[in-house]
């Protein structure tokens, strides 16, 4: 191939040498650094995120007293857990334990009328 006959030498500066020696093509440093920076920004937060605490209490069975007790230890202010557990205690005839749990729930939410009614009902 005769480069001059093909008109390559008339191309803008830089192109003839690239065509004659494609191995001379270099990816600019700036592009490499840019790519690396973008990958870092995208990936780093994901791979370094601290693991969330294990939590199966969102789907805990409302009739599983041991599970409710375990979750209550993890979520000591969860009124719904206290009520579910108290209901189970009341059903099992443990009225004092039920009232105690309702009272504990009232300390978190003193304005909850339903809790007051339940305490009244268990007395």
């Amino acid at each position: 191939m005769n480069p001059d006959r093909d008109g390559i030498s008339s191309l803008p500066a830089g192109y003839p040498s690239l065509i004659r020696d494609p191995r001379s093509i270099r990816v600019p440093t700036s592009a490499i650094l840019l790519l690396g920076s973008l990958v870092l920004i995208r990936v780093l937060p994901t791979v370094t995120r601290p693991a969330s605490a294990a939590d199966d209490c969102e789907r805990v069975s409302r009739v599983d007293a041991p599970a409710l007790e375990r979750c209550l230890a993890v979520r000591p202010d969860d009124v719904e857990l206290m009520i579910d557990l108290a209901d189970l205690q009341a059903k099992a005839g443990n009225r004092d334990a039920a009232v105690e749990l309702y009272r504990r729930a009232l300390t978190v939410d003193p304005e909850d009328g339903e809790l007051r009614r339940r305490i009244g009902g268990e007395r």
Binding site: P28, T29, S30, A31, L33, L34, G36, S37, L38, L40, I41, L44, P45, T46, T48, R49, P50, S52, A53, D55, D56, C57, E58, R59, R62, D77, D78, V79, E80, I83, V108, D109, P110, E111, D112, G113, E114
Partner: protein, 808 residues
């Protein structure tokens, strides 16, 4: 001198064109049209529309003057003549035909938004031809040597922008009480450190992008246009519910037009003279001006921090541009090379890795890094906007898909057929147990916060009449709006149910459960005319219309009560029961943010202009009750005082409502007075979870209509026959949403938990609403996140099935 006059004229013309585009975009977004344009909330925009043709001709004449030299001769002669002819013809069309769109023609809105940008581009190209310059061809091309070696000036600019906004932040935070005082120091320090890392990383990426573009022979203007488009898409268009492909096309078009026009204006301004020192000084000086001057001004009337973020972006871009130009004059022998970029990114990486682990390292469990960064970013818009693009708190695999789902289901634009909301199938007058139903007075005070009423907050001393009324009524202590803005909150109250996230599904009559009840009870309607009652509720013949000639934003409680008293007097002989309904806007943020406080009044601990208006409402409400008592109405009326939503009055530097659903926006007062005859027969638990959507089914029950809940999305009756049990909701989650954007939430645990998924900012949060918690942010586990997101999806899916629209 001529060049500078031309440049000034071009700026004026561009402002006109951009304002036209803004207006067209606002009409494309149904919520923006309904909430900003219909009620004339933005006065300058209303005036602009009114005088649009006049402004057009003014801009045309000024442009004509500037084009005189080009019309005579030169390379720009043909395009200049073409512009004069085409723009003249367009002006003639504008003069005889209304071109500006209304809110119901989205295709036309988009077309106008694009076409309005054409003059900017056209004139920019003319200027490029008319003014030869070798200074602006490709700014990136003038950088010599290894670009990484000249990064230092842009990193100095990054530190400068970071430092200026960081210095401004603490005092703003202190004023807002956005950070807990107990460990405010460490929290602010966390925010400042994270901000430094983010600034260094962002400026590094920007520098490398321009450097890579130069190497690839891509004009810098193209990069600026794309970056500007991305910023407009995320920061401006998404918050006003312009999303998807249309948003990207609009954003890129606006950005490109501004770049082309800006380059032309630059040529006209400078001619062939070289850049002066001012071209570096002015952009840098803008940064402190923005941080200490502009941002504080914008705070009270911003829309979801949009304007503050935009200001910070412009300031950062100006500083970067100044630094970039400086870099072109430095020798390429500066030390560093790739190590400079690496060092900057290393600082960023250190903050990303270290900050979430700090509580563990320092053994302080009170330190919640995510909360600290959220609070700090409210005071530092430069950091806030960077977090939006490079947040490390929201990096779970399903985040993007979930937020895309929320956006796709928000502010729906395709037409929808109405559904029928029937609490009592085949409701007829005979279905009402009450032979002569009581009067109903429904006062929905726009933006009324419950903590500005003494019955909810003992610190309040300025609402004695409302307090007395409340003591004779049922006061629901955990009432919420289902929507954080009037646009959907009020229709949902009338429907007694969630409504499609669209403004609006029409005709509304099949969904107007309240209207059906009023018809069955043969009520005489006395209703304030506003854009929602007019469009949805219906002001048909026979309705007494209040506030008829008053601009909607000027509707005041006192003014409306005066009209209502007159109406009751005029129709004293009418034996039909009365249904009166008004939504005064005294307390709307648009009216209170710049309002003054009457001389001699002070409200320590409260937002005084707001409190002063609450006091005035209280007085007029008392007078109205006196009037009702005199007429013998009081003991034969259901009187409801509530709000359509609450309002942010500076909490975490938030102001207003609409764009989010934080606790102070969702919580509402709800006070229901019953006539003695009903009070004896019905009971309620005022501590139960209550929503605005429960009002209509409650009225059905009180009027004796047997109700069947038509859908899970519908409300329930808050009242039950005496001796009955109130509906319990403690094990359910209830969907709440912003009226105007892709922000959804779940209220659970009998109103003690609020989960928020914000697809605009791209973050989720949870609040503890238990009485002693003070509506504080709380941490959440991945399981809680998944549970709440599943509830949101489930209820949005149910709405989609109900309204029969396809959704992702």
């Amino acid at each position: 001198m001529i060049g500078r006059f031309t440049a000034a004229a071009r700026v004026g013309n561009a402002l006109f064109c951009v304002a036209t585009t803004i207006y067209a975009i606002l009409t494309y977004s149904p919520f923006a049209y309904e909430q900003f344009i219909q009620p004339n909330m933005i006065a300058w925009l209303s005036n602009f529309v009114f005088l649009h043709t006049d402004f057009y001709w003014l801009a045309y004449c000024l442009t004509l003057l500037t084009l005189v030299p080009q019309l005579r001769a030169g390379p720009a002669r043909a395009p200049a003549w073409a512009y004069i002819v085409v723009a003249g013809l367009a002006g003639a069309v504008l003069s005889v035909v209304r071109v500006l769109p209304a809110g119901d023609t989205p295709a036309r809105s988009i077309a106008v938004a694009f076409v309005a940008l054409v003059p900017i581009v056209w004139l920019g190209l003319i200027d490029r031809l008319a003014v030869p310059s070798n200074l602006l061809g490709n700014p990136a091309g003038s950088l010599q040597g290894n670009p990484a070696r000249n990064q230092v000036p842009t990193l100095i600019a990054a530190v400068f922008v970071w430092a200026v906004f960081a210095i401004a932040a603490p005092s703003r935070l202190r004023d807002a009480g956005g950070i807990a005082a107990a460990n405010a120091g460490p929290q602010v320090a966390l925010g400042i450190a994270a901000s430094l890392g983010a600034h260094l990383a962002a400026f590094t990426v920007a520098f490398l992008t321009f450097a890579a573009a130069r190497d690839a022979r891509v004009p810098a203007a193209v990069i600026v246009a794309i970056a500007g488009g991305a910023a407009l898409h995320e920061v401006v268009l998404a918050p006003i519910s312009v999303t998807g492909t249309v948003s990207w096309l609009l954003a890129i078009a606006i950005s490109s037009a501004l770049v082309v026009g800006g380059l032309g204006i630059g040529r006209q301004w400078r001619g062939s003279s070289p850049r002066s020192t001012w071209s570096t000084v002015v952009p840098l000086a803008f940064v402190p001006f923005a941080a200490f001057g502009v941002v504080p001004l914008l705070t009270t009337f911003d829309w979801g921090f949009m304007l503050q973020k935009l200001t910070a972006l412009i300031a950062a871009a100006a500083a970067f541009a100044a630094a970039w130009r400086r870099a072109t004059r430095l020798p390429s022998r500066l030390p560093g090379g790739a190590a400079v970029a690496g060092a900057a990114m290393a600082v960023y990486a250190a903050t990303v890795i270290a900050i979430p682990r700090l509580p563990q390292w320092v053994g302080d469990s009170r330190l919640q890094p995510a909360f600290a960064l959220d609070a700090y970013s409210a005071a530092d818009p430069a950091f806030r906007v960077l977090r939006q693009f490079m947040d490390w708190d929201q990096v779970r695999p399903d985040d993007a898909a979930f937020y895309a789902y929320l956006r796709a289901n928000s502010s729906l634009k395709d037409p929808l057929a109405p559904v029928s909301v029937d609490f009592t199938p085949s409701l007829k007058p005979a279905a009402l147990a009450e032979p002569r139903p009581p009067h109903i007075f429904l006062f929905i005070v726009d933006s009324l916060r419950r903590d500005y009423l003494s019955i909810y907050n003992p610190k309040v001393t300025f609402t004695p009449r409302l307090d007395a009324f409340a003591r004779d009524s049922f006061v629901f202590t955990r009432a919420f709006s289902r929507y954080g803005g009037t646009g959907l909150a009020v229709p949902s109250i009338w429907a007694g149910a969630l409504v499609a996230h669209k403004q609006y599904v029409t005709p509304f009559a099949p969904m107007n459960a309240l209207g059906k009840l009023l018809d069955a009870g043969s009520y005489r309607r006395v209703v304030t005319r506003d854009h929602i009652t007019e469009e949805l509720f219906g002001l048909e013949e026979g309705t007494s219309v209040l506030d008829y000639r008053i601009d909607e934003m000027m509707h005041t409680f006192c003014g409306t009560m005066a009209e209502l008293k007159d109406d009751l007097q005029t129709h004293a002989a009418d034996t039909r029961p009365v249904f009166a309904h008004t939504r005064p806007l005294d307390l709307h943020i648009g009216n209170t943010r710049f309002a003054s406080v009457p001389a001699g009044e002070s409200y320590p601990g409260f937002f005084a202009p707001y409190a002063a208006r609450v006091k005035r409402i209280d007085g007029c409400f008392g007078d109205m009750l006196d009037d009702l008592s005199r007429r013998g109405f009081y003991d034969n009326s259901i009187i409801v005082v509530m709000a359509d939503h609450g309002d942010s009055l500076g909490e975490g530097l938030r102001w207003g409502h609409g764009y989010t659903i934080v606790p102070e926006v969702l919580r509402i007062p709800m006070i229901v007075h019953l006539p003695p005859s009903l009070r004896d027969r019905f009971t309620t638990d005022v501590t139960q979870l209550a929503f605005g959507t429960d009002l209509t089914p409650s009225l059905y029950t009180l009027l004796g209509a047997p109700i069947v809940r038509p859908r899970e999305a519908a409300g329930v009756s808050l009242f039950v026959p005496s001796g009955g049990e109130s509906h319990t909701r403690r094990n359910d989650g209830f969907l709440v949403a912003s009226s105007y954007g892709a922000v959804y939430g779940i209220v659970r645990h009998n109103g003690r938990r609020l989960y928020i998924a914000d697809a605009i900012e791209g973050r989720d949060s949870m609040y503890d609403l238990a009485p002693a918690a003070g509506d504080a942010r709380m941490g959440m586990t991945d399981a809680e996140r998944q549970t709440n997101r599943a509830m949101i999806r489930e209820q949005i899916d149910d709405l989609a099935r109900w309204y029969g629209y396809a959704h992702p």
